[in-house]
Amino acid sequence: MTLRITQGHLFARALVDIHRSLGKFTSLQQQVATGRRVNRPSDDPSAALRIIPLQNDLRGLQQMSDNVALSRETLNTGAASLEDASNLVQRVRELTMQAVNGSVDQGDRNSIGEEMDQLLQQLVSIGNSRRGDRYLFGGTESGSAPFELIEDGGGTRVVYHGNHDRLEVEVAPGVTTALNLPGDAILQNRVRGAVRFTGDTGAQPTGRGDTGVGFQTLAVTFNGLQNAPAEIVAGSGTSNALGAIGYVFTNTPPTLSIGGGPAQPIPAADQDFKTADGRVLNLTVTGLPATLSGTFTAKAGLSTDRGATIADVADFTATAVAVRNRFDGSVLNVDVRNLVTTGDELVKHEGTFDAFTVLATLRDLLRNEDGLPDQVVRDRAAAMLGEIDGAHDAVLDGLRELGFRSSSMEVLGNRVAGLQLSRTESLSALQDTDMAAAILDLQRQDTAYQAALQIGARVIQTSLQNFLR
């Protein structure tokens, strides 16, 4: 038997078709209304599997983009601080030139010295620059000020309390950058070159194992006698002869001559005895020793911290006597083989600059509390010009590096933005509705729905009853 079609069948089919039509209509409508093709994972499971990682990726890229912005802001703040530092050092140079000028007197120098003091404080606060409540130049010790200005028995110095650890953040996939800078590398540069002594005591640098920064003053003093006969003791006056000293006594008349110098009558108390080369030993001689001639040693005392720590030199064949500075812990190794007289050596550690010490020294020099002669002050100030330039170069180097890092941040930022764009496109392709296509589909579906309704109505209504009479 052929297939019988009943009214029940017709109704059922019509219903099914209408439901199907409406179903498609609804899903299209949702796609257009939300703009999303995939509202739930089951809408397109394989797309959903890719959508979630893409979304996470995008958020990660956004974080990287934020980090790039943060990094640039930090670098720019740092650069602004370094520019301030640079201008400050320029001013220091100007002031030094003024001080070197012969027509400036002590009163003027005093006021220049005061301005130097102000500039020193300012430089410290530049070093302690902050962004928000985070210190920029302290490494990862960003919670407390990295530079501390200390004025005590050891003079004026600035101590760096930060560290050199890096705070790394990701700025592009696989690329990290440090958000912080160690300030001591810029303001207290330590790229060591040679060591120079400027003075005439005869002490020489060794150039090895020194840890001082910038320059120091090595004070060479007379530190007593060694291996001298009991009759010879150091007097209370000033002596400036150092090293091995030969002595010759004469019996009648009783005289003593040291170092080939003129014989002086003895006994003598606190008497200056000269050597042949004009050095002086102040001695108290009580009598004639058993041996009339011999050699004793005038010991030297070396200090870089104004006498707080004195390294005793008795052996004048030593090639490296370590002189420690109690206040900054630095060590200076001195070759004492040619050390002959007391005095001060200006020690310069080339290549290392401590901008703060430059300022402090200039200030102290100009205040001239030691009462040095005018010309000496001017000469020393002139010698400092080189230091100032060095410090300025260090700051400019720092600026240059920051500028370079900032521009590479820009490149990275563009790269991240590009990645963001491509991810967004991929995500959109997977997730978003093609509006034009969806709206066309909607209209088509609408037409189909209406057609189904019309035809269904026609078919259902017609029946034999209409024609039977």
């Binding site: 019988r4 079609i5 009943t6 009214q7 029940g8 069948h9 059922a12 089919r13 995939v38 739930r40 994972p41 089951s42 809408d43 397109d44 499971p45 959903a48 599997l49 959508i51 979630i52 990682p53 979304q55 996470n56 958020r59 990660g60 974080q63 934020d66 980090n67 943060l70 928000g132 409540d133 985070r134 490494g139 990862t140 010790e141 960003s142 919670g143 407390s144 560290n163 050199h164 650890d165 705070l167 790394e168 953040v169 912080n180 330590r190 060794t206 090895r208 194992g209 020194d210 840890t211 490296a320 370590a322 420690r324 812990g329 060590v331 190794n333 029946s463 034999l464 009853q465 039977l468």
Partner: protein
Amino acid sequence: MSGFGIGAGLRALNAARHGMQIAGNNVANANTPGYSRQRVELAAALPYSLTLGVQIGTGVDVTGITRLVDEGLERRLRLQSSLLAGAEVDHARMDELEGLLNEPDNGLSTGLDGFFGSIARLQSDPSDRALRGGVVQSGVQLAQGFQLLSRRLGELGNSTFDEVRGLVREANQLTSAVAELNKQIVALEAGGSDANDLRDTRSQDIRRLSELIDVNAIERSTGSVDVLVGGRLAVAGDHATAITVGKSATATTELRMGNSAVRTDEGRIAALIRNESADLPAYDARLDRLARNLILEVNRRHTTGMPRSGPFRTLTSNYGAVDGDGDGQRGDELLAQSGFLFDVQAGDLYVSVARLPDGPGGASTDLERTRIHIEPAAMTLQDVANQISAIDHLTATVDPTGRLRVSADSGFGFDFSPRLDPNPDSIGTFAGAAPSIGSTARGPYDLSGQTFPLSLTVTTGTSTLPATTTVTLDAADFANPAAVTTDELVAAFNADLGSAATAYAVGGRLVVRSNSSGATSQLAIADVGAGTATSALGLSTATQTGQDVGVAVAVEGTFNGDGNGQLVFVPESDGTIGVTPDLRVRVLDQDGNLVTTLNVGAGYEPGKAISLDNGVSVSFGAGTISATAGHVFALDTLADSDTTDLLVALGMNAFFQGSGADDIVVNPDLQANVDNFAAAIGESSGDAGNLERLMSLRQTDIADLDANTVEDFWADVVGDVGFATAGALQTLNTQDQLMQHLESERESVSGVNLDEEMLDMTRYQQSFDAAARFLSTVQEVTNSLINIGR
């Protein structure tokens, strides 16, 4: 003769009337669900013989009213009903589950991303309090997300029992109805009639039953239908057995008849039971696994981190040991049996103790690190507490609730972080200010050739005022004289040394250090009598003098290697740092193998950092070092300062609490004070070492998550749910189409076509008219016959 026509006529009228009535019945029931159209069966009535060989018909007989139905089709329809109803339930449940997940917009993947995102933001400014609060907050939200999802999954599963019970009630009503109908049909058909409408009703009831449970319906010769559910008789004749609902041994829903379980494979109830016992638990287990691993991995990193406030003064664990043996004491069970939520493994726990700074913003000093070896199958929690208490300045107790409480003495703090010791030579055995003499080789040492008791003299003091102490080593001091350990030697030396000097074990070597420092302090060790202990122990017999200031050793950086170890630094020769040409320091690993040598002679600036390849940098200050005097210092390099997971199991300084998706929460201590969040490994305010470790978790493949990262694992689950839901929809559509096809076949066989009935009605009506006319004719003829005699 003439009377016979009336009979035929009457029969004809009867037949036509029945025909019209059947057509009318069909039309009336055209829309009745389950109705099968009926047809009147007509047959010619038996003829009678007029004469021999001549038969005359006697009209039409209505032999019966048949119901047009295809039983095979009915059976297939019942099966399809079960399949379709089951597919509907499957889809509904998967759809609801997908809705609960709320992906990709606001589900767990957003929570996970939020958590890692907040950590990344904190990385850019580790000291920012608001950002730290943000990390804790996102952790809270993530935990809430887990708990909510777990609860909803549970609710969905739990609703199964009630839903099935409602359906079973409906099923029992249907079986009772079928039984009743069986009785009526049997009674009616025994009397010879066709119980067509009753059969339709019964068929419809069985179909509705098959939507709920897959059934097997067998018709008996009596006309009653037996209904089998899972092979058991639910309806037998006029008797219906009730189906009940109960809980199986695994606490899932099951159907029962009497006291034994009944199996159902298709239909609504079967789909619900399947969802409750297999599908939902599978997803629930994966959710739980994710939560558990997240808790474990995050806590592993957090428990070994350093909070903002620096080392701890006191710390109590969140969880305690369970009183397994019921003796009222906690902490005396083996760790493996203490009821911890996470297993404790055999391994090492490194505890660091340091002297706290005097004021805020300083760093702690004198870091001492102790390694505690833990064997969970042989140690109890009390044993661990005792070992911690044995460390200087620490006390550990197990409180009555079984929790471990560790406290440091005033002025000291402790932590479990793997940070590098910034001053590894705090004792001063590497060219310190006080003179020291160390062994030039690591232990164990061979003293088997010596005669015990073995004596050595240790001379301290100054050259003008020396002081001598005698150290006597007895055979009883050592377990094995041929392999004397450094620790045994240290103990034996310190027992006799008094206040003049102290012995230490540094990098596995014996070192004796004078207790007075300075350039005038001296130290010398010599054998007494014929003993050769000094050479057996590798100790120099030359007199050593101290220095004004020892060589300052400083360490910076973070160790980035794998595994835990120790670097031992010894000078290669004697000399002055930064001055002597070719002066080097050898770096050895914990087994004595050379790792690298560092140039600290001429050309090296004292105090400048030298970086080793593993993230560590060391700097040496000015001073004199000596290889002959056995100068040495050791630096612990830790990748994992707790390989045992004891801190995680106890919940000490943990980020999350709980062990699964249903109880994961953020440690209330962190919620109360965000400064307890351990972003750092060291003490600098901007240290983000632990944040790096937490971020690296995002990219780590975890073995228990099928070697996926946490986010990939969850994305897999979401993907699986998506596929399953789409698949269920697909199946539903397919079953629906199949159903429609079968329905239209049934319509074709049993459905009522109104036009057809109209035609039938017209036919029977005409037939009726014709029969009526015939009867008139017969009546006229009869009248004529009667009127012949008039």
